[in-house]
């Protein structure tokens, strides 16, 4: 019997060893707060994207540091800073000195949570998510790639413009951080010379909470919780006093007003059309080209995904027509047949490497979408290069506006040509990836990715080759997945690259170089 117990112990020990060998499954990017590679003292003069007249957003001067009010605030921070509970310490570590990264991650998580396509009702009809009744079912929103690209664009632009204003007043009023006023306050993050009034963290917290609540109304409580935790963490960290936060919140509020006004009138509310309009778009293409895409699900969805997303207001491209792709090869043409043959070949035999590429880039339903994938790349480069929050927001803002512009351009092309998917043109064709609910040409993944790569290559030239390789891989992944012809991918990459250069040209002249 002793022997048996011994054996059992070995088994238990073995399981414990195996448990220790498991890979981590992190919920966020765990990085050490770092010293910023630059402070950008002139950042307050950089050109904003959304705010057309930054001098109209005013911030009154702070109380002098020898005032009773300020000294009381300083005392409050000193007390908090000296007696952190373990959960407060965790929050301080979580938010880091670059909270732009965390709010971006929160946005991606919400995109993944809401990226669920509504299923059919019992009678075979479909109900669309409705912002007037966000609870649903189905819940609002369906955070598909166009929706997510737009959500990220507004979030990043509001963060960036708010931070430009914050930088402007920081260096105008030059009030140093609490830990510089009182050496007994120990900053939780590496010290920097940034004036603390207004708090840049509070700007980011305020605009992020408001924009994300607009985009994900059912998450209002969760966002409020993140917001309060973030604000408190800045006092606990000894980097701001409460009037710094209030000033940041004020700037955030002003920027959010402008962002909301633009979002209300950018055409997104009309992007998901009723069936008669959708049918007329399809028929127009059929008359022009002799083909039209149709949804292949059972029961058939009456309308494709956001047929008029191509009409939504762009950020950097004056008219969508100038970035519309040339016509695709006609069905039955030699190039079409060659590309079909290629698809049939992959379906017959796929290497493990091809399968891996198709899945790594799938970014399909339930995921953070291709724009999310590129935000992850941006985040890693931002941390690697130790960018300050202002520079980080600038990267996200130009990349996400370029990615949204790419989505608008791609969707315009998709519904203009209305090109059928491989499962429609190839008899009996079956795929490893699900076929999306919109026309094939050009490939969204290719367009989003090439635009993202173009902007990231501008900001991080040392990694340009890698970004462009990734964009190529994202494009080709859709061919391996069986849901795009090669010409969808090739033309999509060209289109994304072209759209990306509009954003890069703006960034080159924004005064930040």
């Amino acid at each position: 019997m002793k022997k048996n117990i011994y054996n059992l112990l070995i088994l238990i020990a073995g399981i414990a060893i195996l448990q220790a060998c498991l890979e981590e499954t992190p919920r966020y990017y765990d990085f050490e707060s770092y010293e910023f590679s630059s402070l950008d003292e002139n950042g307050g003069n950089w050109k904003t994207i959304l705010v057309s007249n930054p001098s109209e957003i005013l911030l009154t001067a702070p109380d002098p540091i020898n005032s009773a009010a300020y000294q009381a605030e300083l005392g409050e921070v000193k007390n908090m800073n000296a007696s952190l509970s373990s959960s407060e310490r965790r929050a301080v570590e979580y938010w880091t000195s670059n909270p732009v990264v965390r709010w971006n991650e929160i946005a991606l998580e919400m995109a993944a949570k809401y990226n669920l396509i509504p299923g059919p009702n019992a009678d075979g009809t479909y109900t669309l998510p409705n912002p007037a009744n966000p609870v649903g079912p189905p819940a609002f929103p369906f955070a598909h790639p166009p929706y997510t690209s737009r959500m990220l664009a507004y979030l990043s632009v509001a963060q960036y413009d708010g931070l430009v204003l914050a930088w402007h007043y920081k260096f105008q009023y030059n009030r140093l951080a609490p830990y510089r006023q009182d050496p007994s306050i120990r900053p939780a993050y590496p010290e920097n010379g940034l004036p603390s009034y207004p708090s840049h963290g509070a700007v980011v917290a305020k605009v992020s909470k408001e924009i994300l609540t607009l985009m994900f109304p059912l998450e209002a409580n969760v966002l409020e919780k993140h917001y309060q935790e973030h604000l408190k963490s800045m006092l606990n960290a000894g980097i701001n006093v409460s009037s710094d936060l209030d000033a940041g919140i004020h700037i955030g509020e002003e920027v959010v007003k402008l962002a909301k006004a633009r979002a209300a009138s950018d055409g997104m509310s009309k992007a998901q059309t009723p069936k008669p309009i959708s049918d007329s778009i399809a028929n127009a293409a059929f008359e022009r080209f002799g083909w039209k895409w149709q949804n292949t699900e059972t029961p058939q969805r009456p309308v494709g995904l956001t047929p008029l997303f191509g009409r939504v207001k762009m950020w950097h491209v004056p008219t969508v027509e100038e970035v519309r792709s040339p016509p695709p090869p006609a069905i039955g043409s030699p190039q079409f047949e060659a590309d079909v043959k290629e698809l049939e070949g992959f379906a017959r035999h796929m290497t493990l490497d091809q399968r891996r590429i198709a899945n790594w880039w799938e970014d399909g339903l339930g995921s953070y979408t291709p724009p999310g994938h590129w935000n992850k790349f941006a985040k890693l480069s931002i941390v690697k290069n130790k960018l300050n929050p202002l520079r980080s927001a600038r990267v996200f803002a130009y990349m996400n506006t370029a990615i949204m512009d790419a989505g608008v351009a791609c969707w315009d092309t998709k519904y203009y040509y209305h090109y059928p998917r491989p499962v429609e043109t190839i008899k009996g064709f079956r795929t490893i990836l699900g076929t999306p609910n919109f026309p094939a040409y050009t490939s969204g993944h290719s367009t989003f990715s090439a635009a993202g790569a173009e902007v990231l290559s501008f900001f991080f030239p040392e990694n340009a080759q890698q970004f462009r390789l990734w964009a190529e891989e994202a494009a080709v992944s859709r061919i391996y997945g069986g849901i795009h012809y090669r010409f969808d991918a090739t033309e999509g990459t060209k289109q994304g690259k072209l759209v990306g250069t509009y954003a890069v040209n703006k960034a080159k002249e924004d005064g930040a170089l």
């Binding site: 060998c21 890979e23 499954t25 396509i117 339903l365 995921s367």
Partner: protein, 307 residues
């Protein structure tokens, strides 16, 4: 992950090494074979479902239609000693959906090796009380992807299971049997670097939940112990995990639960050596994050004395 697999193998070796100084057929039944006895078997199983549980909501999905899963499983069992039997199996599985446009998957699934130990046989009344254990270890072989659910052919994770089997075997051929196993499951490597499981996960590994697995049977041996008939019950309950999200596909992290009732018959053509045949049928009666499957299995066994 390589490190992980080598430790699985190491653990198996360690465990096997320690067991022989102590004093079969299916890993969950009470049957033992004498030392030197060998049984080889081939089992074909087909199972189908056209409804599945999304969380606890039973639904159909016309883009899957009916999902058919076929399995061909070679198996060997051998009597290492009178009290210790070894069982190994390696199934080939293929899946196919009648609806939608997505392709089914096929390939070799998991190699499973288990040791069954007969601990106790005690006469009580007009029968014997039995207690056995079965310890198994299984690991995916080949290159199948667990993340193609519901088309994927397996969970893609290593598994270690400890099962206790208790029974009462009457002299008149009636058998009552209950088996309970704890299944420890490791991780499955997927090809995405991000997935959602009640929040973001930045990893290409998914934790497959541990599970409790129950088998119950009332059996009857007749025709000079050549025919075995059983009414069976099986349940598997993951102890953690998330639900399939609305109209979304399943993934290996899901909290899967299933219970089935079935019948099992086994016929030895000539006593307990030589050829035998197996037939069984199982019907899923409840579940969570699983298909409501009915499955039919047919098998051929051949038993002989090797040494």
């Amino acid at each position: 992950m390589k490190k992980f697999y080598s430790s699985v193998v190491l653990l198996a070796i360690l465990y096997l090494y320690h067991i022989p100084s102590l004093q079969a057929q299916m890993p969950f039944d009470e049957i033992m074979m004498p030392k030197g006895e060998f049984c080889v078997a081939g089992i074909y199983e087909v199972s189908k479902w056209n409804q599945y549980w999304e969380g606890d909501y039973l639904r159909g999905n016309a883009n899957i239609g009916t999902l058919t899963r076929q399995m061909l499983m070679p198996m060997v069992a051998m009597g290492l000693t009178k009290k210790i039997n070894l069982i190994a199996s390696l199934p080939y599985i293929s899946t196919d959906a009648s609806g939608g446009t997505q392709v089914g998957q096929s390939g070799i699934q998991d190699l499973s090796v288990s040791l069954k130990v007969d601990w106790l046989q005690h006469r009580v009344g007009t029968g014997r009380i039995l207690f056995l254990t079965n310890t198994h270890i299984s690991t995916p072989v080949g290159t199948y992807l667990s993340d193609y659910m519901p088309f994927s052919i397996g969970a893609g994770a290593p598994e270690i299971g400890m099962r206790g089997i208790a029974g009462y075997k009457l002299d008149n051929g009636l058998v009552f049997r209950m088996a309970a196993a704890y299944l420890w499951r490791g991780q499955t490597e997927i090809e995405r670097a991000y997935y959602y499981q009640n929040g973001s996960v930045y990893s290409s590994f998914m934790n497959v939940p541990n599970a409790l697995n129950i088998h119950g049977a009332i059996g009857y041996w007749t025709l000079d112990k050549r025919l075995r008939l059983e009414a069976t019950y099986m349940s598997l309950n993951c102890l953690s995990g998330d639900d399939i999200r609305s109209y979304n596909r399943p993934q290996p992290t899901n909290k899967m639960e299933v219970s089935q009732v079935g019948i099992w018959t086994q016929y030895y053509i000539k006593a307990d050596r030589g050829f035998g045949a197996i037939a069984y049928f199982n019907q899923t009666i409840s579940g969570r994050n699983m298909g409501k499957a009915a499955s039919l299995g047919l098998g051929l066994t051949y038993q002989f004395k090797a040494y």
